[in-house]
């Protein structure tokens, strides 16, 4: 049973679970950016001489759409390496 777990170990374990759950936010940019790339490929197929402009616009839009995935990554990195909840518990 859960008798031998210290509080610090419990907090660290829950931080690790939280970091894993935060990375589920990576699904969104994957789907969205793939959809945008499909539309860009279609546009290049329809007008091959505008390829430079189309690729530049697509890269700009994809970098902005990736932001929410990066938010999840930053939360996961902070939970794993900075361990703020452990610090908050030890200062309690």
């Amino acid at each position: 049973m859960l008798q031998g777990i210290t509080s610090e170990a419990f907090i660290l374990g829950c931080s690790a679970i939280g970091a894993g759950l935060a990375m589920i936010a990576g699904i969104g940019p994957g789907i969205g950016q793939g959809h945008a790339a499909a539309r860009a490929a279609e546009a290049v197929g329809r007008q091959p001489e505008a390829q430079g402009d189309i690729v530049r616009t697509m890269l700009l839009g994809q970098a902005v759409a990736e932001t929410t995935g990066i938010y999840g990554l930053v939360i996961a990195i902070i939970l794993l390496f900075v361990r703020p909840l452990l610090t908050a518990y030890l200062n309690l």
Binding site: L59, E66, T67, Y71, L73, V74, I77
Partner: protein, 222 residues
């Protein structure tokens, strides 16, 4: 290789972390580079074709001037030197990981400072073009959406800084884990990953940061 500075100033211990020391090094390198290019320009004759370093620098300045003209319009060309400085600093800073040092942009304080410069510029130009009362009224466009407008305006520098920080830091962490896991066999797959994380992602994030800065400032001026 980490270079840190730990010194005592006025009786207090000050520690400057390695990413900030790398930022100082980049500023010194870019200043020396600018002095070298300047002395070459002064010695060049106007009628000859430019060669070597001057040719490359003319191509860079011409491209960035074209970018500023397309995004911000012809009457805002006075922004081109600031955008050129931003692009040169960010390109060298993001590519610093190729040399084995920690890139300065993997520290959140550096990216937050750059995003706050953009935020200050945006608010100043919005203030100038709307006047004192119009600036505050522009947030209360539909009156019940005021908190949403304010938060949307504050979210711009936050997302700008986090985008650059997250991209570069994730590259640094993954490369660090790979090097410590593979030891001597690392050079089999790390060059490809360096090419993606440092070269492609670094240059793309530079371009995105500059383009978003220009778009924010030019949209605040209307």
């Amino acid at each position: 290789m980490k270079i840190e500075i730990a010194m005592k100033l006025f009786g207090k211990d000050i520690l400057i972390p390695d990413s900030i020391v790398n930022s100082f090094i980049i500023v010194i390198i870019l200043s020396i580079f600018a002095i070298v290019v300047n002395s070459k320009i002064k010695k060049a004759k106007l009628d000859d074709k430019p060669s070597g370093l001057l040719n490359f620098m003319e191509a860079v300045v011409g491209t960035i001037n074209g970018l500023v003209k397309d995004t911000m319009g012809l009457k805002n060309m006075f922004f081109a030197p600031y955008i050129t400085t931003l692009i040169l600093y960010l390109a060298v800073a993001n590519l610093f990981g190729l040399l084995g040092f920690t890139p300065p942009t993997s520290d959140y304080s550096v990216t937050l400072s750059l995003a706050l410069i953009t935020f200050t510029l945006t608010q100043i130009f919005r203030f100038k073009s709307l006047g004192f009362l119009g600036y505050f009224k522009s947030f209360a466009d539909p009156a019940f959406l005021t908190p949403l407008n304010v938060i949307g305006e504050l979210a711009n520098p936050v997302s700008l800084s986090f985008r650059l920080f997250g991209n570069i830091l994730s590259g640094v962490i993954i490369m660090g884990l790979l090097y410590s896991a593979l030891g001597y066999f690392a050079p089999i797959i790390t060059p490809v990953l360096h090419g993606y994380f440092d070269v492609f992602s670094g240059l793309l994030q530079t371009f995105i940061f500059a383009m978003l800065t220009m778009i924010f400032i030019s949209s605040a001026m209307e």
